[in-house]
């Protein structure tokens, strides 16, 4: 954990007071609905379908057990005893009362937490690899860089009223586990031939209604120039990003309309003025931030053989991950048990997880963008005991990387933007593919569901992506295949967007369609090692289309005589 100093704490306390005033002015009728919307959103507060929704920031997904207990107690006191971990590594409460939100923020501030810039047209929570600091393929500890960027982006006076939201992801390892290619800015740490740290800079990626893979505008930005370069990008965007149409206001549209080369020129021209100025990062600040992070005091251990047999082995294969320190492992606690909405945790579970974190992982945990919780520093010798406890809590479903580890937004059950529900689709699929042996046989597969084209469920980068659409007031589901969030494994395709299979389906049909996709994959794969995504990239989507809709002749016939379909 980064531990606040007095100034960090004061800023968060002052934010609570500021928002308390804004809420009071709104309730007194001194702020219009529109204006209060702009202010409440940047404190994470939405007005949703049935009630407000509060999105609490978990900067770069890192959380202490003390903070998790506070979240559990807030969910109990102000909400309905549970929270939803989101794809931006944050926590959402679905039923708070508007007039109590300032009190919730005040409680959060007591444990160095807040809801700053978790929504609104400003720079959002910085996200990163959930194995930061423990991964064997680490180049830099991305947490330090994320905290540097968090401070730079917090209440940035120039960039508080941007054309649209702005998301930055940092990846500090060789493999990209932060999906940097689908962010407004993606930063991928690299070292040059002299060993100096820098960043590859991607801009203009994103999901939503216009999914685009980001464009590299710098192959190596030396670390000390990071903030001035970010200032330059944001300034170009703030001045020239479109404000006439909310659907064209993200930086990806500016980059597309300008062309990447022209956009890069403008950024470089702006940067020429800022480069080497006072915002140039200094060594002392990096060490100051690094020294304020608590660090596990690892024991000197050696690696053990971890059993691959029986139910424990099945869990160890999927939910236990390698660690850079001998004798340790990272563990994913799955929030994807069949029958539970993906990413949801009850207050009791949160308290129990805080306990597990304290006893097994130095009192810290991480939220993954796949909506699970990670204990990053577990002694290998403790794995069996941890597994038994996690199993009893319903947190040991051995499905990480498998089909039922579904990413899903809250969807039409909660969200007022949604065209369709997500959670019942996720549940129907989890039930259909509940047989673990079958799931293991299918192998690694990301299945992502969004209830609307805003794509909070990242459907464009699911190997199978499901999108809820509205057809004359009814809920339908469009299916894409071939999306990929990035090169998480080494080998295999990099980040890519899914292709739409064809006409959409009724909710009840979705499990059958997915089943057909899986069956054709199993027939076409060249070995068990060839993953679903690799088969789609090798053979294209046509065979999958045929499996679902019939061959081209049959499809054409059906189009001519829809009544016979």
């Amino acid at each position: 954990m980064y531990l606040y100093d007095e100034i960090d704490q004061r800023m968060v306390d002052e934010r609570v007071a500021q928002f308390r005033g804004q809420t009071r002015r709104f309730l007194e009728g001194k702020l219009s609905e529109d204006e209060f919307r702009a202010l409440r959103l940047r404190n994470g507060l939405y007005i949703q379908r049935y009630a407000p929704m509060l999105r609490i920031a978990i900067p770069y997904g890192l959380l202490s057990s003390r903070q998790l207990r506070k979240l559990a107690s807030i969910a109990r006191k102000y909400d309905r005893d549970y929270g939803h971990f989101s794809t931006r590594q944050n926590l959402q409460l679905n039923w708070p009362k508007l007039e109590e939100v300032p009190d919730i923020l005040a409680e959060l501030a007591t444990v160095e937490m807040h809801a700053i810039q978790t929504s609104g047209n400003c720079i959002r929570n910085i996200t990163t690899d959930h194995f930061a600091g423990v991964a064997a393929d680490e180049i830099v500890d991305s947490f330090v860089w994320c905290e540097l960027i968090r401070q730079w982006s917090t209440f940035h006076p120039e960039f508080s009223y941007l054309p649209r939201k702005f998301k930055i992801a940092v990846n500090g390892a060789v493999h990209d586990r932060a999906a940097v290619a689908v962010h407004d800015i993606g930063l991928h740490a690299v070292k040059d031939e002299n060993g100096e740290v820098g960043f590859k800079v991607l801009v203009g990626g994103g999901l939503g209604r216009t999914p685009i893979i980001g464009t590299e505008i710098r192959s190596f930005l030396p670390w000390r120039h990071l903030l001035t370069y970010l200032d330059a990008i944001l300034r170009v965007y703030n001045r020239y990003g479109r404000r006439d149409n909310i659907h064209k206001a993200r930086i990806k549209i500016l980059v597309k309309e300008r062309g990447a080369a022209k956009f890069r020129e403008e950024v470089e021209a702006e940067w020429a003025h800022l480069k080497d100025g006072p915002a140039t990062v200094i060594e002392q600040e990096l060490s100051r931030i690094a020294s304020r992070f608590t660090r596990p005091e690892y024991e000197t251990l050696s690696n053990q053989k971890i059993s691959q047999e029986g139910p424990f082995g099945a869990w160890a294969k999927r939910n236990v991950h390698s660690h850079k320190v001998p004798g340790y492992a990272a563990v994913t606690l799955s929030l994807k048990k069949t029958g539970v909405p993906p990413g949801d945790a009850s207050s009791d579970q949160m308290n129990a997880i805080a306990d597990l974190a304290e006893r097994y992982s130095f009192g810290e945990l991480r939220v993954s963008h796949e909506q699970n919780l990670i204990l990053a520093d577990v002694r290998q010798g403790d794995l069996a005991a941890l597994w038994r406890e996690a199993r009893d809590l319903g947190l040991a479903t051995p499905n990480i990387g498998l089909l039922t580890n579904i990413i899903a937004c809250p969807g039409g059950d909660f969200c007022s933007l949604a065209n369709a529900k997500s959670i019942p689709v996720a549940q129907a699929l989890q039930e259909r593919f509940d047989d673990l042996d079958y799931q293991h046989d299918i192998g690694e597969l990301d299945l992502n569901i969004s209830g609307c084209m805003n794509a909070c469920g990242h459907h464009h980068v699911g190997h199978i992506g499901i999108l809820g659409v509205d057809k004359s007031g009814e809920e339908w589901y469009q299916i894409e295949i071939g999306g990929n969030q990035g090169n998480t494994h080494g080998g295999g395709p990099g980040a890519s967007l899914g292709k739409v299979l064809g006409p959409s389906f009724a909710r009840a049909e979705v499990p059958d369609v997915v089943q057909k996709l899986i069956e054709i994959y199993l027939v076409k794969r060249d070995s068990e090692a060839e993953r679903f995504i690799e088969v789609v990239h090798r053979i294209g989507i046509e065979p999958f289309k045929t499996a679902v809709y019939g061959n081209p002749d049959q499809r054409a016939a059906r189009r001519r005589e829809p009544a016979l379909a």
Partner: protein
Amino acid sequence: MATLIKERRVVANPPSPEAGEVIRLEPQDDPAAVAARLPNVSRVEINFPKFGDGRGFSIARLLRERYGYKGELRAVGEVARDHLYYMEKCGFDAFLLRDGEDLDEALAAFGDFSETYQATAAQPVPLFRRRAS
């Protein structure tokens, strides 16, 4: 009646006939285009046509930090209490509040935060350099 705040105090507005040129910039304007005239103007106004339009923040910083403008820089238009802290950091020193803003609340806005992490027009040295010294 809109109220003018200068140097964090309410001042009478408008003063009787002003001497000197006033430049008014809209969000889409390029401050570079007026840079040469800046030494001779008595005031630059930047218009904020909408509550959520933040382009004027960048224009203000450019005027102060790149083109060295030292005179009065006034925010006009939809200028609300909630913008003032950020505007001052970006280099504004005069604020023509929109109608209906509560004056005491507006004056309090300058103290919303006691520190700023970033390098700004008002404090060119970012917090991390001051922490280090």
